[in-house]
């Protein structure tokens, strides 16, 4: 008989942490991109957000870093497994 227990400890913490983080990111980014242009430029809320250009630059940089990490990992593993050409 298969045992099925509820998800425990670390799994729940990591899962809920991911959900919380993505909710926070979504809310902050949505306010930044969609809400702020309709708010008067002298309202105090603008001080919590970087200039608008960064709302495009930061995700772009993050995507580049992600690609770099993936590429580096593939490169390192490929490098470690190269075999020298056999000479007859």
């Amino acid at each position: 008989m298969l045992q099925h227990m509820k998800a425990t400890g670390a799994d729940q913490a990591v899962g809920l942490g991911l959900v919380g983080f993505s909710l926070f990111l979504f809310t902050y980014y949505t306010v930044w991109v969609i809400v702020l242009p309709f708010v008067d430029s002298d309202h105090v809320i603008h001080s919590y957000f970087l200039p608008r250009e960064y709302s495009v630059i930061l995700p772009g940089v993050a995507a580049l870093i992600l690609l770099l990490c993936v590429g580096t990992f593939i490169g390192v593993v490929t490098w470690k497994n190269r075999t020298p050409k056999k000479v007859d």
Partner: protein
């Protein structure tokens, strides 16, 4: 019309609409706020999609039931695979 063509048509229509608003090609004289909202839209949609994916994964990790026996079996299989690959020369 194939699904691919439908998707491409839909994406190009949305893309043209976005380009018209962002680069003001039709001289529509929209209020500045609307243009401010429009130009980051492609990046915004990507970020929202990323957030949705992350939240879905997180939620399913948090609610997936533990399977003790399957976990032990999987650990054993992972060890078996590692040993086998090491024997064949793969260095991790």
């Amino acid at each position: 019309m194939t699904k691919l063509l439908e998707w491409l048509l839909g994406v190009s229509l949305v893309g043209v609409a976005w380009g018209l608003v962002t680069f003001d090609l039709l001289d529509l004289q929209l209020p500045a706020a609307y243009k401010e909202v429009a130009w980051p839209m492609p990046v915004y949609l990507l970020v929202v999609f990323g957030c949705y994916s992350l939240a879905t994964i997180g939620y399913r990790v948090a609610t997936f039931n533990d399977c003790e026996e399957a976990a032990k079996e999987l650990q054993a299989q992972i060890q078996e695979a590692k040993d086998d690959l090491k024997k064949k020369g793969l260095k991790m």
